[in-house]
């Protein structure tokens, strides 16, 4: 149980490919839906309570020791568009590489062998957290934070926002981020008695639609 290990895994500089993804904010910027710090905050809040809650639940359940292959199917059912499934699996492969280098474990090796094309990223992240000896709650926190930290960083680059404003935004969202992580971890704890349906499946229609639109662009800065 190392606090520093959690900080390492949740750090945006952890070399697992996240820097090249905007979490949908590049598409939202193109549609003029996000254009300043207020609209960015609204975007991040919406993503936190949809994608964030769902991925945090999957990460927490994996960290709690649920079968990662069943959770990978559950992640597919919660990801209705191919563009986002492809991104999740590509980031899962990249996370797997970094996780096996930093916190090697037989469980990571097994998942890598069973899903050579990559498991969904939150599943790999949850297993990395588990390999580092951390808790489901901590897996949920890392996953939830990432769903807002990624778009906030990307928006700073896309809109030349003041990075201090972006950091302030993330600080403002921190209580909500904790609450989402706690709800996700609670749900993960119920999987043992209620099955995988206990896990959140919060979704957003616009994030799904615009992710496919973005994937079809020929010119873009971010991979998603």
């Amino acid at each position: 149980m190392s606090r520093a290990a959690l900080l390492l895994l949740a750090d945006g500089r952890f070399p697992a490919g996240g820097h090249a993804h905007s979490g949908g904010v590049e598409a939202a910027v193109a549609h003029k839906a996000v254009h300043d710090i207020e609209t960015l905050e609204a975007f991040c809040r919406g993503r936190l309570h949809t994608t964030g809650l769902t991925t945090a639940g999957l990460a927490a359940a994996t960290a709690a020791g649920c079968d990662p292959l069943m959770l990978d199917d559950a992640a597919d059912a919660r990801t209705p568009v191919p563009a986002l499934r492809a991104v999740a699996r590509r980031l899962g492969r990249q996370m797997m590489r970094a996780a096996r280098a930093t916190f090697p474990s037989a469980e990571l090796d097994r998942l890598a062998a069973e899903r050579p094309q990559g498991a969904h990223q939150p599943i790999v992240q949850g297993l990395a957290v588990r390999s580092a000896g951390l808790t489901p709650q901590e897996a949920a926190s890392a996953a939830a934070y990432e769903t807002v930290g990624g778009p906030a960083t990307a928006a700073v680059r896309l809109l030349s926002l003041d990075p201090l404003d972006a950091s302030r935004l993330l600080a403002r969202l921190s209580t909500e981020t904790d609450a989402v992580a706690a709800a996700a971890a609670d749900a993960a704890a119920r999987v043992a008695t209620e099955g995988l349906d206990a896990l959140p499946s919060a979704s957003s229609p616009l994030l799904d639609i615009t992710a496919e639109q973005h994937a079809a662009w020929t010119v873009r800065l971010f991979a998603s």
Binding site: H31, F43, L206, Q213
Partner: protein, 284 residues
């Protein structure tokens, strides 16, 4: 149905002194409705018959004329529902080889009831082997101050076919929407195919922001499941911008299924998008 009309009469008129938001109301109000309507369709070797057609509460079920071997059922609203505190369920099963179409005669309007406790509306759809089930209701409208939790629980056999359309309208004209939470879970051949949960209207966080609806007031889905569907196809994007509504039609991962997701400023724009998605899905 007499039971329905009795219940309708027993409804208390709207009472402005009813418990305000935040009042503890874990179970239904005395005036709330508990109703489960059931439709069971079977194939008799020639046509589809309806051995069970059980109206209940607000659901008045009517067999409709068809020319082919399919059976068709219209659901007619026998009272205003769902209101806060109601517990409504529809249980619809197409047994082996049966072909069943179910529609609603009018839009379903979720209103604030005598209580602010959520109403529940559970739709259970089951299609057994080689069965075909079409669920094409009119839209669900979330009126101001309503609070509705809707669930879809769909179980599909490997060789079954499904066409499901769901349209949600957030608020009547120039009205703030109520709180509308829905979850759809679809299993195909025993495996999870789709699991989605949405929450619109205050106090759902971020629902109207740029990541979720961005001002749109009509949102809907169209799910097509059929064993012969070619799901290797590329996603279809309907309208590139987002202002006048947009949609994507794309294959799901866990089975032979295509899902269209659409948002639009108006109900009619939403229907146009979903109709267009359906034409693409059927390969027209």
């Amino acid at each position: 149905m007499s039971s329905a009309s009795q219940l309708a009469e027993s409804r208390a008129p709207f009472d402005p002194a009813a418990p305000a938001a935040g009042t503890e109301e874990t179970c239904g109000h005395p005036n709330s409705v508990r109703a489960t309507a059931r439709i069971r369709a079977t194939y008799n070797g020639r046509v589809t018959t309806l051995p069970q057609l059980r109206s209940d509460g607000p659901f008045h079920l009517r067999r409709m004329r068809t020319s082919g071997k399919a059976a068709r059922v219209g659901i007619i609203g026998a009272m205003s529902a769902p209101l806060g505190g109601d517990r409504l369920a529809l249980d619809i099963t197409a047994e082996d080889r049966a072909e069943l179409d179910v529609t609603t005669a009018a839009a379903t309007l979720a209103l604030r009831g005598p209580t602010t406790a959520p109403a529940t509306y559970d739709v259970r759809l089951t299609a057994e082997e080689h069965a075909r089930l079409r669920w094409l209701p009119q839209p669900l409208i979330s009126a101001a101050d309503s609070n509705l939790h809707q669930t879809y629980t769909v179980k599909l056999a490997a060789s079954s076919r499904l066409l499901l359309r769901e349209e949600q309208i957030l608020g009547r004209a120039n009205e703030k929407p109520g709180h509308l939470v829905s979850r759809i879970r679809v299993h195909h051949a025993g495996r999870p195919l789709l699991d989605q949960h949405t929450a619109y209207g205050d106090p759902a966080p971020g629902w109207d922001g740029p990541a979720i609806l961005h001002g749109h007031r009509a949102v809907g889905q169209l799910l097509v499941v059929a064993p012969e569907l070619d799901v290797r196809r590329a996603p279809v994007l309907l309208r590139e911008g987002t202002k006048d509504g947009c949609a994507v039609l794309a294959p799901l991962a866990g089975g032979p299924a295509l899902l269209a997701t659409a948002v639009a400023p108006t109900p009619s724009a939403l229907r146009e998008l979903l109709d267009e998605a359906l034409r693409h899905a059927l390969g027209e």
